[in-house]
């Protein structure tokens, strides 16, 4: 397998001094990729900016106009977490374009794993609103572009925060299956197991909330037991991963206890979800401890490429087993309730 990554672009202009979502994150990610020493097995997808038409697959036109105007007016704080600068609009469009470019390069072959090194991250961005450090929803834009080509897309989100933006965007879309593992309670306060999709997409959302302190064994088992059967039934033609690395035990943003070895296991699992080779692309989301980000990404990509590398041992023994059992129960109840309502609405 080869690794396809997007061409580097200058994201230094999107920075707010002291903010954890900072340019050194992409430097750490690039360093992790360089340390794989892939030689000619590392392929670069050309730089491009997402077009307005591509952004409109996901975002409202008014929001795009207002965000662009806000940036060109000098930017500032959008909410208590999210900032934009004069350069942020162009950088955000480049981040969205990077995902599209990697996907395009992958479509031309069947022997590649894709990784999109971008910031700002995207999975909190709603159709009409920035939030949670995110301006444009990069993974959703790529997924929507694939759906437009007739593909069925699994978005697997292992960032420590629930990807509320991605969930909202595809809530009623049966061509996208959204699966998220995340710490709960935690920002953004969504992602409960009973959130299973809209009327047109019942069971197309799988949320696995985990308690503070949960370890990789619990997370992996939850994905295998709760999500894998749904994914198998859905039969995705593409797997896009919202690859946040802030579930690592060293990350300051949350309290899950994963190690880089756990991310290698998650990469194996993501690869197993793809129904054909060369159809797994990962997008950088969170991850704010630079060493943990570098090590976890290195382990992830090595595993996805089938290479061996030394990583931290996998974590185990943390809490969460009861919560996973409860999540399975709540999912079943929510799906049954929706089906009963659906049946009663259709009754004469």
């Amino acid at each position: 397998m080869v690794l396809i990554v997007n061409e580097n672009y200058d994201d230094a202009g999107h920075e707010d001094p002291g903010h954890p979502e900072r340019p050194s994150r992409t430097n750490a990610a690039r360093s992790a990729i360089a340390d794989l020493h892939l030689g000619s097995d590392l392929v670069t997808a050309p730089f491009r900016v997402a077009s307005r038409a591509e952004l409109l697959l996901v975002h409202h036109g008014n929001y795009l106009d207002e965000l662009g105007a806000f940036c060109y007016d000098g930017g500032g704080d959008i909410d208590q977490d999210t900032y934009a600068t004069y350069d942020s609009w162009e950088i955000a469009k480049s981040a969205a374009g990077a995902g599209l470019s990697v996907i395009d390069a992958m479509r031309a072959r069947d022997d590649a794993v894709g990784f999109v090194v971008t910031r700002p991250p995207g999975h909190h961005a709603l159709a009409d609103r920035a939030m949670g450090f995110c301006l444009l929803n990069n993974v959703a834009i790529a997924a929507a572009a694939l759906v437009r080509r007739g593909e069925r897309v699994l978005v697997l989100d292992w960032d420590v925060h629930h990807g509320n933006g991605t969930q909202q965007i595809f809530w009623n879309n049966p061509e996208v299956l959204y699966v998220s593992t995340h710490q709960s309670p935690l920002f953004p306060g969504s992602g409960f197991a009973g959130e299973v999709g809209g009327w047109n997409a019942i069971d197309r959302t799988v949320n696995i909330p985990l308690p503070s302190g949960a370890t990789g064994d619990i997370l992996q088992r939850a994905l295998e037991e709760l999500a894998a059967p749904v994914i198998e039934d859905f039969a995705p033609t593409w797997v896009l991963v919202s690859a946040g690395f802030d579930a690592h035990r060293a990350d300051p943003m949350a309290e899950l206890q994963l190690t880089s070895g756990d991310f290698a296991g998650l990469a194996h699992l993501a690869t197993s979800f793809a129904h054909q080779p060369g159809r797994v692309a990962m997008f950088l989301e969170g991850g704010y401890d630079l060493d943990a980000l570098r090590d976890s990404l290195h382990a992830t990509l090595a595993a996805a490429l089938g290479a061996t590398t030394s990583t931290e041992s996998r974590s185990n023994g943390g809490p969460g087993a009861e919560e996973v059992t409860r999540a399975a129960r709540e999912r079943r109840a929510a799906i049954e309730a929706l089906h009963i309502l659906e049946t009663s609405e259709r009754a004469p």
Binding site: F70, I78, Q80, D81, M131, F187, P188, P252
Partner: protein, 139 residues
């Protein structure tokens, strides 16, 4: 006989949100009305631990005393999320607010000029009555 209400009010530490809290405390004139002061904990707040989840901020307690509000009916509630989502959830359990009070502007005034205000979005999407307290309220 009037029925006791639950009044939720957003608080982000800004002067505008203090005006909203003051309005809610004065509005809660029925003997058993409860006021729930709601605070949205964003990602950075989790990192920096700005406000306790368990202890009502001193500034809110001072406002309650200034309004002669019975602290037995005052509740401090921190919810994870952005301000808009958290305020909209106040109509659902565990708060079940009958009325939501917000300041017309929160933190991030410049963004609100171009990207729409939290208060406007709350008004457009809330399932309960909403009172927006003007920035330059005399309260």
């Amino acid at each position: 006989m009037s029925v006791a209400r639950t009044i939720a009010v957003g608080f982000d530490g800004s002067r505008e949100s203090e005006s909203a809290v003051r309005w809610a405390l004065l509005e809660a004139h029925q003997p058993h009305d409860d006021v729930v002061v709601v605070h949205a904990a964003g990602m950075l707040e989790h990192l920096h631990g700005a406000l306790s989840r368990d202890v009502t901020p001193p500034r809110v307690l001072v406002l309650a005393r200034e309004c002669n509000f019975n602290e037995m009916h005052l509740r401090w509630f921190v919810d994870d999320g952005d301000a808009c989502s958290v305020l909209l959830r106040a109509g659902a359990p565990p708060i079940n607010a009958d009325l939501l009070v917000v300041g017309s502007r929160g933190k991030g005034h410049r963004a609100e000029l171009l990207l729409g205000s939290t208060s406007l979005e709350v008004v457009q999407n809330a399932t309960m009555p909403v009172v927006v307290v003007p920035t330059h309220s005399s309260l």
